[in-house]
Symmetry: C2
Subunit: 450 residues, 2 copies
């Protein structure tokens, strides 16, 4: 079973106002069910779709969430909270219902990806956690999916760990990029926790710590005869390629074959061609060329479209932090409380009230045609995307393997219309008549009553 044990969240990792507001709720007995909807208001400029990830880490965290004795003592020390509320927190467990998209689903602006219904303070206190985990994994999964699309079938490997925003983030990045179609990660802990394939090559420091480059290659190959990728750009890339070829040939005589060489600097399009020639002329056509260093979907597309003989990509920092869109405009908004629809009227920030469902229609070709944003109780044409994953502390299904989620993501992306996949059209859901009506009625009611 999937487990997010690497993340043992303290319920105290929340914004202070979640607790002050909740004290008011508890004091006044405002414990009726509230529904909060998590959605992206507007896609980042550089994205035409988003790939949903982060749900199972979130569900695990929701099940584990509690305030420790120590946390409660800290809260007491702030001299802000009443004893009755601290008692409430002592027994705090998240008991709510979680509706969500399955991980690996493609989605667009204003479409709820998670909807939580729980007694008001519970639904409120988990806000920070809910937004945070979905934000990072979805942002990174989407960026990684763009790299995979650009690579056109060539493997992409996660090299992001060293420059993600914190160590936990490196685990999310490994998980999310695998969901998006990456084939492996260099992150050993991620490999252990998520059962991902782990891989790696060698560093410049390794080559430099020997007196001769060729010796560095030879010794590595002896230690890892089936897992050797020579890094050949430490001193002179073509000289490095020739040295790598000599070592690879000696191994070949023993029936062993090195996997490849890696280029990490310089004009890799030009260099890969020259290196390919060196390898081919040595009779090493089976030795692959890996490229790394500052890659993102744009650079990968350039390399691929140049026809350069590059077989695989090591993608690090720019994927690992989703560099051109490092956050999503993700909001967690109250849409219903105590049976009544709720919304705000703030300028430029529309929130649709009520519990929702998204119905997705497909064309005969199998490609996505249109999404309809509707109320949850509506029964409309198309495939309903959200389903209930958790209720009263029980998971309603066995967590899927990451391979299953990864397969779904690949299918979802394959069903995007070509112009969406290429970033040329940004879909937006149509709003159902019932939802549009509820929005109008709620807005008018609010303008009169509040």
């Amino acid at each position: 079973m999937f487990t997010a044990k690497w993340l043992t969240p303290s319920a105290l990792l929340t914004d202070l106002y979640e607790l002050t507001m909740s004290q008011v709720y508890v004091e006044r007995g405002m414990l009726a069910p509230a529904t909060f909807s998590l959605f992206v208001r507007k896609l980042p400029r550089q994205r035409s779709f988003l790939l949903f990830a982060g749900l199972w880490p979130l569900l695990e965290a929701l099940r584990e969430l509690r305030f420790s004795e120590d946390d409660l003592a800290y809260l007491e020390s702030l001299k802000l909270f009443k004893p009755t509320f601290l008692d409430y927190l002592k027994d705090f467990r998240f008991s709510g219902e979680v509706w969500a998209l399955p991980e690996g689903t493609v989605f667009f602006e204003n479409e709820p990806v998670v909807e939580i219904t729980a007694p008001l303070p519970e639904a409120q206190i988990v806000e920070t956690l809910v937004i945070n985990l979905v934000n990072i994994e979805t942002a990174i999964a989407t960026k990684a999916a763009l790299c995979v699309l650009a690579a056109q079938g060539r493997p992409c490997v996660d090299f992001g760990a060293r420059r993600t925003q914190g160590l936990e983030a490196s685990l999310h990045a490994a998980r999310a990029s695998y969901i998006a179609g990456f084939t492996a990660t260099s992150n050993v802990l991620a490999g252990k926790l998520f059962g991902l394939p782990v891989t790696g090559t060698m560093a410049h420091s390794y080559v430099e710590s020997f007196d001769r480059e060729e010796e560095a290659f030879r010794v590595f190959a002896e230690n890892f005869p089936e897992n050797t990728v020579f890094l050949i750009d430490t001193y002179d890339t073509l000289e490095g390629a020739r040295r790598a070829a000599r070592v690879a040939l000696k191994l070949k005589e023993k029936g062993l074959s090195v996997r490849g060489v890696r280029l990490d600097s310089g004009d890799v399009i030009e260099l890969s061609r020259k290196v390919r020639r060196v390898l081919d002329e040595a009779g090493l056509s089976e030795v692959k060329i890996f490229v790394s260093g500052g890659l993102d979907e744009k650079r990968i597309a350039e390399i691929v479209s140049s026809g350069a003989p590059v077989d695989a990509f090591g993608v690090g920092t720019k994927m690992g932090v989703s560099a051109d869109a490092p956050y999503l405009d993700l909001a967690y908004k109250l849409v219903e409380y105590d049976g009544r629809p709720r919304m705000k009227l703030s300028e430029g920030k529309i929130t649709y009230p009520g519990r929702k469902q998204v119905f997705r229609r497909y064309a005969d070709s199998g490609l996505m045609e249109e999404d309809l944003l509707a109320l949850r109780e509506e029964d409309l044409p198309g495939k309903p995307l959200l389903k209930c994953f958790m209720r009263e502390r029980n998971l309603l299904e066995t967590p899927p393997s990451l391979s299953t989620i990864r397969r779904r993501a690949a299918e979802e992306i394959a069903r995007l219309p070509k112009e969406v996949r290429k970033g040329k059209r940004v879909p937006s859901p149509r709003v159902s008549e019932a939802l549009a009506r509820l929005y109008q009625e709620t807005a008018e009611g609010l303008r009169k009553e509040i």
Copy 2:
């Protein structure tokens, strides 16, 4: 004492190649001291200085680092490693020497911020950890410092937790932004762990969960008479301001005063003027105006230069992920092994060999004049910036409080020449003659020998 107990890193959070390379080192007895230097190759386009942070979390992590039984069993299961090497990892403890800038020091391209000297495999295995922690805290501290400069004395508060890249990242962001001069955080766990002031207001959901906005305000103020900031833009900002004023006046009759109102949407420059008028006309000139919502240093500067009556800023996502520069071009490079200087010759990626020191010279005005990048043993004019913090598992000084680090950061930034502070000049260190010579000699030697 400072402790990073919230971060209990597994030594397994490393790149696979650190372990494969280390097996070779251990097998061949390559255990001589290696020095790795951590530096930023080139500042992000939008930065003219960087503010160093992340050292003490790193030192704590280095002291705690080990491979668990479980980790070793996982590594064995990969069928990559030899039993002798797994035995080595079983007893793995970081025993090296750590030189570094004190946290809160300003630095520039090519200047080492951390230099680690340890037996080669130890110095290699910690690479991922070292880069990662310094990268996130320094990126965020720098971004936060720019916000503080833009706010010109008005308090900035960290509201970043919900959209940082992971939950751990939110703790780094709270810590780093406090170092940079933020006055408080909304992140309760960060408050507990680092002893930071915690603060908060109320959310739109809070206001919406009441039938009337004014009642929501009144009840909150009753619960937190000395900590109330009304969020007034849920429905109609000016109407909200009038309701807030009525509640504040009633409290005032009881001798209590609310702290302020918050604007989170709309044209806050225009709105803040109108809201100020509402409050002043009600005799509430002591009630402050807080602004939040998509703020960064540019937006803060616009608001401040408009003369809008804004008293404080809640700065969230864009600071919390350092949105315009979410990573640094931070490299951890071998500069010496077994007494010999080391470097690579890769195109466009110069690394200076040898252990280093940075000497900083100041003008008579007290402002920074020039940095000199030199070898560690050199004795040159100026203040040496790097010092030894850790040796043989011992910390050489008591960890400073965050207030001390914060004070140093403020002093450092105050000593930046104005054009650097304003982003109009990007300093670069001069290279000492001895270092330039070593670079030439090493490069020539390598071209001949390798």
